[in-house]
């Protein structure tokens, strides 16, 4: 594996499979154990550097690091670093001085984790950058698919919503294509980026045509503010054409699952009944997020002690 996790494209098929397998084993271990802590990353420091609020992602990484016994520093730097007169480089040098082994970064500008990685000796993990990527979200989504459907390869995955502004969509398309799934994006043409035809996936404007042929439907949040910028005429029309309501959900095959990376806008892109229904994996996704992030931290940082006890995961060799 590469030293940093900046993009889902950084992961080869072998890397991604290793992360998912490791996450599975870690989940089983912590489930069995009476104490939910493994000594693996004792003495290591993980910094959560959040330039943008996201309690759920930050908490997920924090839990993951703590379950591996790492020291966690939450470094909140809301707002643009430049507006405070401090550059990203200054922040990076401060973190270096703290002796951080991994920096988990969330930033409102696309590419900020890439910039940060140039100044940091440890690992940088992208926890969501602007409208670029959110690779650990894609990993936990793939993990959830595998958990519910037994595999990722060959699955027909439909991602619906604001693709243009979605870092979740970008990471998912890249990771799922690496893992061999067939991805179809569904959105109004205004919410698909120019250039999407070069992505490793199919594109459709017609949700009803795609749903019966889907094993997984991933609904993305659509912000009401997009209406103001004329991406679509009204939330009502959006819901009518692209929302997953009860009637539409009935078109799904029996085994199909419904996913949402959260936070949801109930009644907009997804009906409450569907979000809370049996097909929904939304609660699993949150739980799985911790396991997958434990696996990423473990594999990037290489624990001092074997976490899982199997010889094929050699911690020292993973840096």
């Amino acid at each position: 594996m590469k030293r940093h996790l900046l993009s889902a494209a950084d992961l080869t098929l072998e890397d991604a499979t290793l992360v998912l397998d490791t996450a599975t084993e870690l989940a089983q271990l912590t489930e069995r154990a009476t104490v939910k802590k493994l000594p693996t990353l004792r003495g290591r420091t993980v910094v959560n550097l959040f330039f943008e609020d996201s309690t759920r992602t930050r908490t997920s990484f924090e839990l993951a690091a703590k379950r591996l016994s790492a020291d966690v520093i939450n470094f909140s730097a809301k707002g643009s670093s430049v507006s405070k007169g401090e550059t990203l480089k200054d922040t990076a040098l401060t973190l270096e001085a703290m002796g951080s082994d991994a920096v988990v970064v969330r930033h409102s500008w696309s590419g900020a984790p890439v910039n940060l990685s140039r100044f940091i000796r440890g690992s940088v993990i992208n926890a969501g950058d602007g409208t670029h990527e959110h690779p650990t979200q894609a990993l936990l989504d793939a993990y959830t698919m595998r958990q519910r459907l037994g595999r990722v390869e060959g699955l027909r995955v439909t991602i619906v919503g604001d693709i243009l502004h979605s870092r979740v969509a970008r990471s998912n398309v890249l990771l799922l294509s690496t893992l061999g799934a067939d991805v179809t994006l569904v959105a109004p043409p205004t919410l698909l980026p120019t250039g999407v035809d070069a992505w490793p996936c199919a594109v459709s404007y017609d949700l009803d045509a795609v749903l019966p042929k889907s094993d997984v439907v991933m609904m993305l949040r659509v912000q009401r503010e997009r209406m103001g910028a004329a991406y679509f005429p009204s939330t009502r029309e959006y819901s009518r054409r692209y929302g997953l309501d009860v009637r539409r959900a009935q078109a799904l095959s029996d085994d199909a699952i419904v996913m949402h990376p959260g936070p949801m806008v109930r009644g907009m892109e997804i009906a409450a009944e569907v979000a809370d229904g049996l097909r929904s994996t939304i609660v699993d996704q949150v739980a799985n997020g911790v396991s997958v992030r434990m696996a990423v931290l473990y594999l990037l940082l290489g624990g001092a002690e074997p976490a899982i006890g199997s010889d094929d995961v050699d911690a020292g060799g993973l840096r």
């Binding site: 550059t87 990203l88 500008w109 602007g130 250039g195």
Partner: protein
């Protein structure tokens, strides 16, 4: 302003043509051209068979003074220009205060004259404060000591069609030209890079080609309607080249420039998220680069202009989205043109002289620049070693800023000497 010193340039090839000759410069003019001239009272300088060109003229330079002297001053910017072979630069109006009055343009002009590295022709703002609302006193700037002929809100587009029409009409009274930064503002809200495959993957807001092309099409039609002169700044797309070719085919008085960086670099470089590659208009695709080279070769694009845009380190050492737009370019312009146009055989040195000196001087109405290399003409010249190769090192730049996108590039040809009215501003590639 003439200098009584006399120089004898020995063994130089005007326009890179024919056998080497000697060229004598006396009292700021070319006094004699011939083989084996006697040195006499002149100071001799061995040109080693190098290419002698008319001093280069830049239609598009950001000197940053007044207002951002931490990024560049007239002194440092014009020294960088001289080292790049320029004898005249047009200083863009987006300073602080904006160059929208006779007072500011005269200040910039005087700073240039006092620095003495090259002539500074201030560009006047089209609208007060570059706000795009009310026309600045264009006539007063034209009549000032700075004799402004080029007007531009560069950095901003004069997007109001009615205002653009009036500005084009108004400057006819003093033979002015409106140099348009063609960028439809509503199509480029928050734009960060070329809109295409790369922007889609990088999650950076796209700057679509149509935002440039729509304004160029409109402005060509307006210029034709009011029979005035339009100059299009930093053309960056294949579609823009086509539109300008069409307008010229109609016989309309439209001219255009291309920057060296748009002739060489593509938006693939944004993949690094290194803001040194962030520029406005943005780097485009290979197809665009090829169309720009073609347009420059066939004369659709009249000239190369640097859009030299120095920025302080902290404005570039930021996240891509937060970083400033712009690249330096005065010291690398000729070398990039040599690499992209001369070496592949698409321009001769005589055509380089047209596109980097004669055409921009004509568009800017600079009478003493862009002149033929001939007896009696002003001795504004630059001497080029066509066989030199060098590696761009930002730390070596005379500019106060370091934001060159060509760091580490090995480029061909080197400016050996620059003469401004017969006086060397650069000798042996160093400030004279």
């Amino acid at each position: 302003m003439s200098d009584t010193t006399s120089y004898l340039l020995q063994s130089v090839r005007p326009y890179g043509e024919g056998e080497p000759v000697d060229v004598r410069l006396v009292d700021g003019r070319v006094a004699e051209i011939g083989a084996g001239l006697t040195v006499g009272d002149s100071t001799a300088y061995d040109g080693r068979g190098g290419v002698l060109l008319p001093g280069l003229v830049d239609l598009h330079t950001h000197l940053r003074e007044p207002g951002r002297e931490d990024a560049e001053t007239v002194e440092t910017g014009t020294l960088a220009a001289a080292l790049g072979g320029f004898t005249a630069v047009h200083a863009m109006a987006n300073t602080d205060p904006v160059a929208d009055t006779a007072g500011v343009v005269e200040q910039v002009w005087r700073l240039g004259r006092d620095a003495g590295h090259c002539d500074v022709a201030p560009v006047g703002a089209v609208t007060i404060g570059l706000a795009g609302e009310q026309m600045a006193e264009l006539g007063t700037m034209a009549d000032s000591a700075a004799r402004v002929r080029v007007f531009s809100d560069d950095g901003h587009c004069v997007s109001d069609a009615s205002l653009m029409r009036r500005a084009l009409e108004y400057v006819k009274a003093f033979d002015g030209v409106i140099a348009q930064h063609a960028q439809e503002p509503r199509l480029t809200v928050g734009a960060q890079m070329n809109e295409g495959i790369n922007s889609s993957l990088l999650g950076l807001t796209g700057w679509p080609a149509v935002a440039e092309e729509a304004i160029i099409a409109r402005d060509c039609l307006l210029a034709a309607h009011v029979q005035s002169r339009l100059h299009v700044c930093h053309v960056s797309t294949a579609g823009s080249v086509e539109l300008i070719r069409w307008a010229k085919g109609k016989g309309w008085d439209v001219t255009a420039e291309v920057t060296p960086h748009h002739l060489l670099l593509t938006d693939d470089l944004a993949g690094s998220y290194d803001p040194v590659f962030k520029v406005n208009p943005p780097l485009r695709t290979k197809v665009d680069v090829e169309a720009l080279r073609e347009g420059l070769a066939d004369g659709t694009i009249d000239c190369v202009a640097t859009d030299h845009a120095p920025h302080a380190l902290e404005d570039k050492e930021a996240e891509w989205g937060a970083a400033a737009f712009g690249m330096t370019g005065l010291e690398t312009a000729l070398a990039v043109v040599a690499q992209t146009m001369v070496e592949p055989g698409r321009l001769t040195w005589r055509q380089v002289a047209q596109r980097l000196s004669e055409a921009p001087a004509r568009i800017g109405r600079l009478e003493e620049h862009g002149r033929p290399i001939a007896v009696g003409e002003p001795a504004n010249l630059c001497l080029v070693d066509p066989d030199a190769r060098w590696t761009v090192d930002p730390a070596q730049s005379a500019s106060r800023s370091r934001n060159t996108p060509f760091a580490g590039h090995e480029l061909p040809t080197r400016v050996v000497a620059t003469f401004l009215r017969g006086r060397p501003t650069v000798l042996d590639g160093r400030p004279a």
